[in-house]
């Protein structure tokens, strides 16, 4: 299959997948009990049934469910995610305000977990013969990190580094009213990002250490590596081109598969650190049965996960020519 055809077919499947996500989420959300009009009226301190009925009508909730679904899907086709009545704002404006913070947190955690995880995995694999203690240390350390729930780890990190040692801020994304510029702003942002990023990345870092380590061990024992040594190729060339490139495949695949899981972990971490991402937005939307916002967040997260998986597929194709040739998968 040509590259273009492959990309097109993946994109088409991605669109179908996103549409499936929309329909499934729409139905699931509506199956849950709870009435957004009642909740909104209650928040406003109004107990007038006539007002609640009027509110329900203005939200379109009095129409049959299939009609509501059709209206929603048509809206999405026009890139209109709807209107959040409790927030009195368009869904897209609410999400676009929060999405960068979530992507920053997810992206930095993923980057940290993947790079440090692979690096440590390689070091552990390479130390297996001559420095077994280092291999053991890395493997056991990773196991320990894997066993710690991110939510609990986040609380402990706050207590140690924010409350006890007073080294890092306990919450938020930047100092409020700090009027910071240049390096001071960068430093402040990094200080705020550090603990949430560490809390989120440790679990994945541990996984990538183990994955990279076992993949490296497998690759290191393969004939083509032995041949490379016999040909007299340099250490770094063998490591990077013959071992790491092959060992990266399972890691990259796993990154794609776990992106959805990472998104859900991010939502929890955002709550602990009061990180102004879409996690809290999702929680509030769920509490208020803000259907439009809830579906909007699901759609955006779903799209990000699907896009990430498409990118991973393409990356795997790039890393391993056998996939391109159709020998694998």
């Amino acid at each position: 299959m040509s590259d273009l055809l492959y990309v097109l077919s993946r994109l088409l499947r991605a669109v179908a997948m996103i549409l499936g996500v929309v329909v499934l989420c729409f139905v699931l959300v509506r199956l849950a009990p709870g009435d957004p009009a009642q909740l909104m009226a209650g928040d406003a301190g109004i107990d007038d049934p006539a007002y609640i009925a009027q509110l329900r009508q203005s939200m379109g909730l009095d129409r049959p469910l299939p009609e509501q679904l059709l209206a929603y899907v048509t809206g999405i086709a026009r890139l209109d995610l709807g209107y959040s009545y409790p927030n009195r704002a368009s869904v897209w404006s609410l999400i676009s305000e929060r999405l960068p913070a979530t992507l920053l947190l997810m992206g930095s955690a993923l980057l940290l977990a993947a790079t440090v995880g692979v690096l440590l995995g390689v070091v552990a694999a390479r130390s297996r013969q001559r420095r077994r203690w280092l291999d053991g240390l890395i493997a056991q350390g990773a196991l320990l990190l894997y066993a710690i729930p991110p939510f609990w780890l986040a609380m402990v990190l706050v207590l140690v580094f924010s409350v006890q040692l007073n080294w890092l801020p306990a919450f938020g994304m930047q100092e409020v009213g700090g009027q910071l510029h240049g390096w001071a702003l960068w430093r402040d942002s990094l200080a705020h990002l550090l603990l949430p990023c560490l809390s989120l990345s440790f679990l994945y870092l541990a996984m990538y250490v183990h994955l990279a380590r076992s993949a490296m061990l497998e690759v290191m024992a393969q004939d083509h590596v032995r041949t490379a040594y016999a040909k007299g190729l340099g250490y770094w060339r063998i490591l990077l081109a013959h071992q790491l490139r092959n060992a990266l495949l399972p890691v990259v695949t796993m990154v794609g598969l776990q992106f959805g899981q990472l998104a859900s972990s991010t939502l929890l971490i955002e709550v602990v650190y009061a990180w102004p991402g879409i996690g809290r937005l999702l929680y509030d939307a769920l509490s208020q049965r803000d259907y439009a916002l809830l579906l909007g967040v699901f759609l955006v997260i779903g799209t990000v996960v699907v896009v990430m998986n498409v990118l991973v597929d393409l990356l795997c194709r790039l890393l391993d020519p056998r996939i391109q040739a159709g020998a694998l998968y």
Binding site: A44, D47, L94, S162, A170, A274, R280, L286, S287, Q288
Partner: protein
């Protein structure tokens, strides 16, 4: 430092009384409020709107109370204190309320405040927005007029004793006519960036992060406020709020900001003060709502047996960590009759009442609907299940999220459920809706969802509203409280006490009965600004 103090210091020095003068000056410096600094608070949950004229959400009131003001507020003794009304007179027949407005007040956008705003607020704004207000005004209010630019007169058709409570800053502030007239009040953009007359001006709302208010430089009380600004941080997790408070990143935690289990630890921190005052106007009452439509709960004896079977001192001390005291009746404070019959913990009496009621409980399984109010409420539901078992009442605890609880209770789809309400001064203004037959509505959990229908009680509610303040009115309230206490459509559980934790550098925080919703005009930070 004021000059007279300097002169005094000089003279004392000359007399060789240096030690005494230092002490004197230190005391003077401590007493003088310091200007500047930013007070950091917690917005929990993040408010849905920033105007408590439109949304009566507690989180909205906390923020909006610093921006919008009403005609008056209430001291801790529940006596009214002037705010935008300089003073007022009530005619001897209780039919005419004349308010003289403060001079020289301006809205934050520079527009002058005046009687027009007050007329618009109470003639158009609230009656259109608020069914309860519309009902009350429809029944009691004849007209409102303004004989002079700084005077507003309310003419009543018949006496309505709780009128002043209805006009308080915390409940129904005055809104700017020039920004609201002719608009859809609920969709007005100024609900999210309010313009008021208060000591703080809305500055910025970064959703999910913070709400920033800054000092009103043209505040109508010269020299106030002392603070440069107030920031409300959105911190969703209770443990994180506690950590932020420990670090002094936020200086105040209201009741509900910290877990019940964490309050004792936080209040023991150095430099932290705790107070339960400031909630006199919002007396919280935890209650067990009972669906009186369904057998055996339609029998008052069964309802009474349930209350006898619940060990309320145990509940307060062990489940809620002492945050309250056992309720003595349906009403709190001055409206409660101390002679009222009590329901102490008495399992034997509870069993006797069940026998007396002659109900067959073998096939009964009551659903106790438990909402998402926190761990203590979940434990209370589990305790209730165990406590009622010896009576032969089998309870199934149905736990759900807040939205589901809200809908099921609103739709009367429950047998028992725990809830709480605020008695906002006069019980007629809030408690009444839980009992009045005309509020048997499928709308919110804060109306008569239990289906209690007593013509006698309804008549007494009507009478209490029409009777002017005084011993006669109190006697009607006692009669009404006895009726409700005997019928027990709602079991009063305990009076909730609200602890406010604050760092000692924060001064003048708790001054009135609505302290945390107050405007904070005289709050200051004694020490380094934040």
């Amino acid at each position: 430092m004021p000059n007279p103090l300097r002169r005094l210091q000089h003279r004392l020095k000359r007399l060789g009384l240096l030690g005494a003068t230092s002490l004197l000056l230190a005391a003077a410096a401590q007493a003088a409020p310091q200007e500047g600094g930013v007070l950091n608070l917690v917005a929990q949950p993040e408010p849905p709107s920033l105007s408590h004229a439109v949304v009566s959400h507690v989180a909205t009131q906390y923020v909006s109370g610093k921006i919008l003001q009403g005609l008056l507020t209430f001291g801790t003794d529940l006596k009214p204190i002037p705010v935008l009304a300089n003073h007022w007179d009530i005619s001897t027949d209780g039919l005419t309320y004349t308010f003289a407005l403060q001079p020289g007040v301006a809205w934050h956008d520079g527009h002058a405040f005046g009687a027009d705003d007050v007329l618009f607020t109470y003639q158009q704004f609230y009656p259109q927005l608020d069914k309860r207000m519309a009902d009350i005004f429809g029944e009691y209010l004849g007209s409102i007029d303004s004989p002079a630019p700084d005077t507003v007169v309310f003419h009543l058709k018949k006496p309505f004793a709780p009128l002043l409570s209805l006009l308080g800053s915390g409940l129904r502030p005055v809104v700017p006519k020039h920004l609201y007239e002719g608009t859809d009040f609920r969709d007005n953009p100024y609900n999210l960036k309010p313009v008021g007359t208060g000591p703080f001006v809305f500055d910025e709302w970064k959703r999910g992060s913070y709400i920033k208010l800054s000092k009103n430089p043209h505040y109508w009380k010269p020299g106030l406020p002392y603070l440069d600004g107030v920031v409300f941080h959105v911190i969703p997790d209770a443990s994180s709020r506690a950590a932020a408070f420990e670090r002094n990143d936020v200086q105040v935690l209201r009741a509900g900001d910290a877990d019940y289990a964490d309050i004792k630890r936080l209040s023991a921190l150095p430099g932290v003060q705790t107070s339960t005052s400031g909630y006199e106007l919002y007396s919280g009452l935890a209650l067990l709502q009972i669906n009186t439509r369904k057998p055996p709960l339609n029998n008052p004896k069964v309802r009474q047996a349930i209350l006898y079977a619940l060990n309320r001192p145990f509940i307060v001390n062990n489940i809620f960590f002492g945050a309250g005291k056992v309720a003595q009746g349906p009403f709190l404070g001055a409206y409660h009759d101390p002679q009222l019959r009590q329901y102490p913990y008495d399992p034997a009496k509870a069993k006797a009442l069940i026998a007396e009621a002659g109900v067959d409980l073998s096939q009964v399984r009551l659903r106790l609907l438990n909402g998402e109010k926190g761990g203590a409420w979940e434990r209370l539901a589990e305790y209730t299940k165990q406590a009622l078992l010896p009576l032969g009442i089998k309870v199934q605890v149905v736990t759900s999220d807040a939205a589901t609880w809200y809908q099921r209770v609103s739709d009367w789809d429950f047998d028992l459920t725990y809830n709480f309400i605020f008695q906002v001064g006069d019980p007629y203004l809030n408690n009444a809706y839980l009992y009045r037959a005309d509020y048997i509505l499928k709308s919110t959990p804060f109306v008569n969802v239990g289906g209690y229908n007593s013509p006698e009680a309804d008549a007494l509610w009507q009478k209490v509203a029409n009777t002017p303040e005084g011993p006669q009115r109190q006697a009607v309230y006692s009669q009404l409280e006895r009726r409700l206490n005997d019928d027990l459509p709602i079991a009063p559980m305990f009076e909730m006490s609200y602890s406010t934790l604050y760092h000692q550098q924060v001064k003048n925080l708790l001054r009135t009965a609505t302290s945390l919703n107050e405007d904070y005009e005289s709050v200051y930070l004694d020490g380094p600004g934040q």
